[in-house]
Every structure is written in structure tokens, then in C-alpha cells.
Amino acid sequence: MLNGNTMETGKQQILSLLEQVPDPEVPVLSVIDLGIVRDVKLQEQEIEVIITPTYSGCPAMDVISMQIRMVLLEHGFKKVKITSVLSPAWTTEWMSEAGKEKLKAYGIAPPNPMQTVCDVNLFAEEEAVQCPHCQSYNTSMISRFGSTACKALYKCNHCLEPFDYFKCH
């Protein structure tokens, strides 16, 4: 039987292994950075990893589950159960600060520090997003929907480069 202390060490060990599992669509981010791993539960013979999808139709979720399984298997954990939960719904507030830095270095603007999600007011001005290339705030949104569900399409009016914005959600 595992006691409280070994449980905690075991959980930390699993969590640090999961830092090796990248998001297949934004490979600089790990599933930990993204905040989609909600909990790890250790039973005697089995590990349960509880994850939550970013968007309902996110096609990366199946790949992510498989990769979590693979990484844990490589480290000798044979019985792994992956449970997907929907509530509470994922939010970009769960993204780690380290993750935001990695995104920016990769050329994707991280979610704005002040969490402002899409509201229903038509044609409302969005809060300025900083260009990840030249740091200018003189940018404009091209489309609220980008190459993946979690991103919006922006352009920088200063350096004229287009870029992705990981939108607040």
C-alpha cells in the first residue's frame, strides 16, 4: 500500500515525465504548460491521468492521449488510464508562465495577461496584442479564427509580419 508521502513523490515523478509530452500542434508547449493535465491519481497498480480538451473539437486530443501513454510506458508504467473531463472547462488562465515565454520565443503571441475572452458585442475593439517579432503593440486582427481552434490571426502594422495569437479562452 502506498502511503501519503510516496504517493506525492510518485505524482511529482509522473508530472515531470508529462513535461516531455508536447502538444502536437504547438510542439514548444508541453501538456503541462498548456494546463490540460488536471490531475494524476495513483492506485496500487494503475495510474490515472485526468486531462481536459482545450476546445471540444480539438483533433490533437487523441494524439496527446496516445503520447502520454507512450511516455509512461517507456518509464515502466504499464497500466495507464486516461480520463477526459469537460468541467471545469479549460481556460488559458491555466497556461504556465514558462509556457507563455516559450510561445513568444516560438513566434506565437501568448494570451494577454489580462484575461479578456470573446464577448457577444459586435465589432468591439479587441485589447492590443503585442507582436512577438518586434514587440510593437500596433497590431490588428485579421480573423478571430486561425490555423487551429486555439489561435487567431493577426498582423503587425509596424514590422508588417503576420503572426498567430493564442487567444484568451
Binding site: G57, V85, S87, L122, F145, A149, L153
Partner: protein, 275 residues
């Protein structure tokens, strides 16, 4: 006459009946999302400009994601109630790919052809406006699974609602041509909006159990939002008229058979085929 004591058998029948209504309701929610998602996906690669092609495809993806969550729940409920060992267990795939059109419970609005861009964005606006109020209420539902799906989906629907409403305004208050097209779409689609907010038999049943959202309660907020957006788009709200219905009870237009034929062809021809 003295009432017969409730036997264990009739209790389980009652539970079964209630679960069957819940399965119908969940399938209705799933079918709505799947069929509109499939319709919108017809634009992928054919959108008027690249950014809007991506936008409508994103919306299609969100809807199909919502449909998957509802189908998975319906499959779980189905497998829990039917305990015949010879039955193939239901899965999200059997529910989407192996049911006939009479078993589909989506509203007629979502199955209609995609038409031009005006018709597509106006339909999306009517539907997202409905889904927004529906999920807002459903996230406080007694049924924990439905509540969780609603909470998750609502965040996405707000994007859809805003995007589609902006397009309605852009086209209505745009050029003579765009105004004419969206006016045509409005006249065509309006008779299909009533069904969105009419309680079907399974909803009436589940209302007594405080599970279904009472669609009467979202009529007014839906109409207020619609009126405001149409007004900004310089469009006139159509007069009161006869409303089409039937889809929620399995009576569909011919459009549904065509979409199912395309969607289900592969699984029907090569059962169990995988990528």
C-alpha cells in the same frame, strides 16, 4: 379502484422510459451539432476568402466536437440500458454513421442546403443565438454530463454568435447585391426558426424531471437578440407566419437524406473500415 403497488419490474420500466427520453434528447442535441457541422464543412476549400474559409471550418470543427461529446454520452446511456449480450455496443460512430434519417432528431434548419454565403451566415446566426441561450441554461442542469458539455461548448458558441452576427450586419448593411441576398435568405429561413424553440415530446417529458431546458424560456431572449442584429443590418423582421417543424421527431426534408448518404456511404459500404 385501488392502485396496484409498484413492483420492482414497473419501477425499472419507469427508469428505462426516463433514460430513453434522455437518450432521445441527447441524440437531438448531438444531431443538431453534427448536421450543421457537416453542412458548414462543405465550405472547406470553397470559402469566399481564405480567412473566412478557415473561420467556417473552425466553427464546423467545434460543432463536430460538441456532437462527439453528446454521442459519447448517448452511447454510454444506451449501453447501460440494453443488456442483451449479442447486441453490438453503441459507440459515437455507430450513432453517427449507422442510423437512418427517420432516427435523426435534428431541427430542419440545420439540414437545409448551405446555399450562398448569406444563407450560411444567417443560418449560423439563428442557430448560434439559440445554442447560446440553450447552453447558458443547460450548464446549470441537474444532469452533470449535459451540464459539463454545455459549459465547455458555450465558450465556443460565443465566438460563433459574434462572428455570424457581424456577417449578417456586414451583408445587410452592405451593397445592394449583398442586401438582396441576405433578404432572400431571411425570407427562406425564417419559417424554420420556430422549431428551434418548440419543445419536442422528449423535452416535455424531461421538463417534469428538470433535465431538459424549457425552450419557452429562451424564446424572448432569442427574439430580442435577433431583432437587434437584424435592425443593425437594416433588415426587417419577417411577419408572424406558419412555422415548419417535424425534424426533432424524425420527419425531415429531403436534404437530410443527401447529407447522410455522403456522410455514411463509406461505413455502410465497408462496415468497420478504419483509416
Amino acid at each position: 379502484m385501488k392502485e396496484a403497488p409498484i413492483s420492482a419490474d414497473s419501477t425499472s420500466q419507469l427508469i428505462n422510459q426516463s433514460t430513453n427520453q434522455l437518450i432521445s434528447y441527447t441524440l437531438h442535441l448531438a444531431d443538431n451539432a453534427l448536421i450543421l457541422g457537416q453542412r458548414n464543412a462543405e465550405w472547406t476549400g470553397h470559402g469566399p476568402v481564405l480567412e473566412q474559409d478557415i473561420a467556417i471550418s473552425n466553427i464546423a470543427l467545434d460543432l463536430i466536437g460538441q456532437a462527439r461529446n453528446f454521442y459519447q454520452y448517448a452511447a454510454k446511456l444506451t449501453n447501460e440500458t440494453t443488456n442483451q449480450p449479442n447486441n453490438q455496443p453503441a459507440t459515437e460512430d455507430t450513432l453517427a454513421y449507422l442510423r437512418d434519417s427517420r432516427d435523426f432528431k435534428n431541427c430542419l434548419l440545420v439540414e437545409l442546403d448551405k446555399g450562398d454565403w448569406a444563407r450560411t451566415v444567417l443560418r449560423q446566426f439563428f442557430f448560434s443565438n439559440y445554442q447560446c441561450w440553450l447552453y447558458e441554461s443547460m450548464k446549470k442542469n441537474k444532469d452533470q454530463t449535459l451540464a459539463a458539455i454545455a459549459e465547455k461548448s458555450l465558450k465556443e458558441v460565443i465566438y460563433h454568435l459574434r462572428w455570424s452576427a457581424e456577417w449578417v450586419v456586414r451583408l445587410g448593411d452592405g451593397t445592394t447585391e449583398s442586401h438582396r441576398r441576405i433578404t432572400d435568405a431571411l425570407n427562406d429561413l425564417w419559417p424554420y426558426t420556430g422549431e428551434l424553440m418548440a419543445n419536442a415530446s422528449y423535452e416535455k417529458y424531461l421538463l417534469n424531471e428538470h433535465i431538459a431546458v424549457d425552450l419557452d424560456s429562451i424564446k424572448q431572449p432569442w427574439l430580442d437578440k435577433t431583432t437587434a442584429v437584424l435592425q443593425e443590418a437594416t433588415l426587417r423582421l419577417p411577419p408572424n407566419q406558419w412555422m415548419q417543424d417535424g425534424g426533432k421527431e424524425g420527419n425531415h426534408t429531403e436534404h437530410l437524406d443527401y447529407i447522410l448518404m455522403e456522410m455514411q456511404y463509406l461505413q455502410r459500404t465497408y462496415p468497420g473500415v478504419e483509416w
